[in-house]
């Protein structure tokens, strides 16, 4: 009776109208730690799908939430069951000691406890990801995990938290509002990046005309995200491993990327430690040797005389045809045509890029300097913050702004949304 009462209290409004899901208080987070464990309970498998399929679907469902929250999820197959945060299982009718009885095929297909248990009605025709019949187990799992994390039902069109099952469109993903709902509970994803850059692609359209496109990439540790500027989110399914997406460069902790792009030059370089690699965009891998047959990687000191290593970051300034290299509190301006550092450099970063608001400046050891084609501006990243560099357009609007000045810092997660880690076990 105590278990039943506790269960009902979790589901139903408390006496007096106060409930965790009430509009007066709003939903609240169910967990206070970052990594949550889950397990498909061994004596509660579905009879309709293989165990591997079920585990794969749940792993994907958890990963989908992890891609938009600071939480990550790890499947725990070995630890004591009492230590597992979220347990999933299938049952029919009276099931798994649950006081709430399933009703057979139709109507109720699953339910979840805020205490971390999810039950699926095995009388329903659950189908795997690729099927277009029955009820998508993936979609139901994502919905029920949402409950476990603290989200209530909503009737907003497009939300995964609608109470009724809606046959999924080909692309079923968490939309903007669902992301913001869960982030109101657990916060946005934060964290420093190793490097951020726009990658230029040249394509020919159906008329043979060359068109130039760009994609934005964020690199951190051994993985990377493609950021879709028009959609204000990362690509679905990211992050991915650098090893698989960028062949031939170091598989983690890239220091800098530079694209030297001017008349007669189209050279892309990755930097790490005291070495650099040139990337072959045509063949989608790093060059193994240059035109003279000298192998990559090469020493930075040889390819860029006067530039120290390791670097913090770098970016290419197209109008001046200079690469700005950053190390600690200094910046080096490197002339790609003369192949040397300008005479008056190095200089203090705070001198070349002065603060508009006193003391509001990264000063040293920035993570990345990034020229964004989407915003036509340079940004300096450090930690969870960014500083925007004054552009020509900014100075046209306000002539008092200092040349190359830095606007006051802002939060990266307020401009580039949902660049979230996932648990390393889900990276493959």
């Amino acid at each position: 009776r105590a278990r039943q009462k506790r269960f009902l209290q979790m589901l139903l409004p408390k006496p007096g109208g106060q409930h965790e899901g009430s509009s007066d208080i709003g939903p609240s987070r169910a967990f206070s730690k970052k990594t949550l464990t889950w397990r498909l309970v061994g004596d509660a498998y579905s009879s309709q799908l293989s165990v591997e399929e079920q585990r794969y679907i749940f792993r994907l469902a958890f990963r989908m939430w992890s891609e938009v929250t600071p939480l990550d999820f790890r499947e725990d197959l070995k630890g004591p069951g009492t230590r597992v945060d979220i347990k999933l299982g299938f049952g029919r009718g009276r099931h798994l000691g649950c006081p709430r009885v399933f009703d057979g095929s139709g109507q109720e297909f699953a339910h979840a406890w805020r205490l971390g248990e999810i039950h699926f009605d095995d009388d329903e025709h659950f189908t795997p990801v690729s099927s277009d019949t029955g009820i998508s187990l993936l979609k139901v799992a994502v919905h029920e995990i949402g409950h476990v994390l603290g989200l209530p039902h909503t009737y907003r069109a497009g939300s995964i938290m609608q109470p009724n099952y809606i046959p999924q469109e080909p692309a079923f993903e968490l939309d903007w509002s669902d992301r913001k709902a869960i982030q109101r509970l657990y916060g946005s994803c934060e964290g420093s990046f190793d490097t951020v850059f726009d990658w230029i692609r040249k394509e020919r359209n159906q008329y043979g005309e060359v068109r130039v496109r760009f994609n934005t990439y964020f690199f951190r540790n051994s993985w990377y995200w493609l950021y879709e500027n028009r959609n204000n989110r990362t690509r679905y399914g990211d992050p991915l491993q650098i090893l698989t997406g960028w062949r031939g460069i170091p598989m983690q902790s890239i220091d800098a990327f530079v694209h030297v792009w001017s008349w007669g030059k189209d050279e892309r370089y990755f930097f790490k430690g005291n070495q650099y690699w040139r990337y072959d965009s045509e063949n989608d891998q790093a060059h193994t040797e240059d035109e003279q047959g000298r192998s990559y990687p090469k020493l930075i000191s040889e390819g860029f005389p006067g530039i120290p290593s390791p670097l913090d970051t770098a970016f290419y300034e197209r109008r001046q045809q200079l690469i700005y290299f950053f190390k600690e509190s200094l910046v080096f301006a490197f002339d790609v045509n003369q192949n040397q550092v300008l005479n008056s450099y190095p200089k203090k970063m705070s001198q070349v890029f002065p603060a508009i608001m006193p003391q509001n400046h990264p000063f040293r050891n920035i993570d990345s300097a990034y020229y964004s084609y989407a915003h036509s501006s340079v940004f300096f990243f450090k930690g969870n913050s960014y500083w925007k560099v004054v552009s020509d357009k900014d100075r046209q609007q306000n002539a008092r702004l200092p040349l190359n000045g830095l606007f006051p810092k802002r939060s990266i997660s307020e401009k580039w949304f949902d660049v979230c880690d996932v648990h390393p076990s889900t990276l493959n």
Partner: protein, 115 residues
């Protein structure tokens, strides 16, 4: 066995004994509305307190509005069909206010998004 004809068993027929009892009458509909929190009573009792009269009609209207059905307050066929749709077992605790008419929500516009 449970009957099927397709290789992938996508046409698997559920056993008649394992099918959910359809919500087809007043009593079943009353239980549905109570079970999923459509009563305005903020503290529903665990025992089956039946919704009747205007209370029932209000609950039905709220359900109809949320499901974009004509808010007649009557248990018509479209309303019963909506109750029979596959759904999650968690009650719908955050209900639209009685006086609010749900309008199709505009597509969310992320901050600073330009076409």
């Amino acid at each position: 066995e449970r009957l099927f004809h397709s290789r992938d068993r996508s046409d698997l027929e559920p056993s008649p004994l394992s099918q959910a009892k359809p919500i087809a009458d007043l009593h079943a509909a009353q239980r549905f509305l109570l079970k999923y929190g459509w009563s305005e009573d903020p503290s529903p009792k665990e025992s089956a307190e039946v919704l009747v009269g205007s209370t029932l009609a209000q609950a039905v209207r709220r359900f109809q509005k949320a499901n974009r059905l004509p808010a007649s307050g009557e248990l018509d066929s479209p309303t019963l069909a909506a109750m029979n749709r596959p759904r999650c077992g968690i009650p719908d605790t955050r209900l639209p206010p009685q006086a609010a008419l749900p309008t199709p929500p505009a597509l969310p516009t992320p901050l600073g998004l330009r076409p």
